[in-house]
Amino acid sequence: MTTVASRPIRVADVELPPVDTAPLRRLRRRRALLQVACIAVTLFMGFPVYLITLAAFSSRQTLNAFPKSLLPSAISTETLNAFLSSTGVLPAFLNSVAIGIGTLALALLIGAPAGYAIARFVFRGRESYQLLLLMTRALPIVVLSIPLAQVFLTAGLYDSVLAVVLVHAALSLPTTILITASVFVSVPRDVEEAAQLFGCTRFEAFRRVVVPMALPGIAAAAIFTFVLSWNEVLAAAVLTLNNRTLPAQVLTSLSDSPLAFRFAGGFALVVPALLFILLMRRYLLNMWGSTIR
């Protein structure tokens, strides 16, 4: 057996002061306060959603009672059923879904190619085009919706699902273009070019190589557009009469409807938001980062 010894790291044999744990305690206290603050904010942000859910699932009896309990006592679908069976609600709900899907399809169809162009090509007018997109986002929808009502009337499109799809697509187009542009930028150019070298046409390369890699980002853009369309109130209310979307329906019946109706309506409008954020929270920061630049 070989005896070896490594050269020990010599340190002075001096008396050292004891470890001062006061700063550590201060640090721990501060982290506890941090949690408390976070919880407080979470309560403020989350509690109202809980309350509307509670309200939507309370029976009429519970809703008429006062003071109300903050805890769910008897879960009942009475209010929600009443809401869904109210005139116009179910069709409005279906309209919203149809319009949402139509909007995201149209926005992607028109916007994705433009996003691709911005991502992959350098051409004259690229900067101005992007500036234009940013400016249109700053344009108030109200300025467009009112005249559009007239335009659609003359075109015979008034009060149609198509009209709302067109407007919503236009509203979400700038954001869709900018998001898809950043998604395509993140797909490395080399992979595309390699596919072309191996015999694909430009379009084939796009379809086989770029689309799969860009899919998550595009899915995020699609969901974002759907939620935008789902929530949009003003244009939908102005442009439709009988073929309302859900928000438009709720808005126009606000003054005539009982509280229960309104609570259920609020809940129905909120649910997609919850799902959306749950699905998209990883992409949220990327999406907003890309559109701000």
């Binding site: 603050a37 003071p67 433009a114 344009l139």
Partner: protein, 306 residues
């Protein structure tokens, strides 16, 4: 950077004309852009022009300022202007301070940060109508806030928050609902902005002796300035458009500008006046955008980047 050949020949050649080259070169980027450009021209440009014209037209098509006079003659209009400006002026600072505080809380990486972020971001996807309805359940006479107050013995029957005879309280409920709803947007922007700031700057400031507030003021906020600027412009313009919140909470007791355009357009069937009001909103938005751009312009630190 692959420069597709389209750009070498300048703007897309007119349909039918062929560039006098041996190879035919497709102006691919322009082709890809055309649908979106056309679409936006039709759905943004045309209505914009149409709206401007409509505001100045009488029913027979001639130029008139009658619509504007009609608009300005209504006391509700001026109330709406005042309310909109007041609401925006109050909500925006609150939101930004709140969002900044929330972003700083998250930045300190507490446990469960992911969960907190999710909950704090949820209102982002809630429309202002839904937000109004959510807080309606809280503020209504038989609502949850009064229930809590009565249960705690702080009041006998609760306060009539949404009573039109109580304009301050009306205003406050709308403020709360708006702050609750729209702070998430600013939060996302601020958090995204913070993530891009290399942590070296903050660490260097720490070693150099800066306290938390000094670091915030001297390092974090200046580096966040570009994000904040964009957020401010977008948020303010969006704030001018708030209307469904107030309708949900207060009915017609708290007039807002966009609510008035809705009224004129749908209920009173007078699109011309509605267009006029819409243009007022547009004008306000543009003025505000210019003010922000001026006030928050970067000092001449070439490029401002690292």
């Amino acid at each position: 950077m692959s420069t597709d050949v389209g750009q070498a020949s300048g703007p897309a050649p007119a349909a039918g004309a062929r560039p006098p080259r041996a190879r035919r070169q497709l102006p691919v980027p322009y082709l890809l852009l055309v649908p979106s450009a056309v679409f936006m021209a039709l759905l943004f440009g045309w209505p914009l022009l149409s709206g401007i014209m409509e505001a100045f037209q009488n029913p027979r098509g001639g130029f008139t300022l009658a619509n504007w006079e009609r608009m300005a003659g209504e006391p509700r209009f001026w109330e709406a202007v005042r309310n909109t400006l007041l609401l925006t002026a109050v909500v925006i600072p609150i939101q930004f301070v709140f969002a900044l505080a929330m972003a700083l809380l998250l930045h300190a990486k507490p446990k469960f940060a992911g969960f907190y972020f999710y909950v704090w971001a949820v209102p982002l996807a809630i429309s202002d109508l839904a937000a109004g309805l959510v807080w309606l359940s809280v503020f209504t006479d038989l609502g949850y806030l009064n229930s809590v107050l009565v249960n705690l013995g702080l009041a006998e029957h609760g306060v009539s928050w949404l009573n039109y005879q109580n304009p301050t309280s009306l205003f406050l409920t709308v403020v709360v609902a708006e702050v609750w709803r729209a702070t998430s947007l600013v939060l996302i922007i601020v958090v995204a902005g913070m993530q891009v700031i290399p942590k070296d700057y903050d660490e260097a400031a720490q070693v150099l002796g800066a306290t938390f507030w000094q670091r915030l003021w001297h390092v974090t906020l200046p580096l966040l300035r570009p994000s904040l600027q964009v957020a401010l412009i977008l948020r303010t313009i969006l704030a001018f458009e708030a209307f469904a919140v107030a309708q949900a909470l207060t009915g017609r007791n708290f007039p807002l500008l966009v609510g008035e355009t809705y009224e004129w357009s749908v209920n009173l069937q007078n699109r011309a006046v509605a267009s006029a009001v819409a243009l007022v909103v547009l004008g306000m938005s543009m003025v505000v955008a210019v003010i922000y751009l001026r006030a928050l312009r970067q000092p001449d630190s070439v490029g401002g980047a690292r």
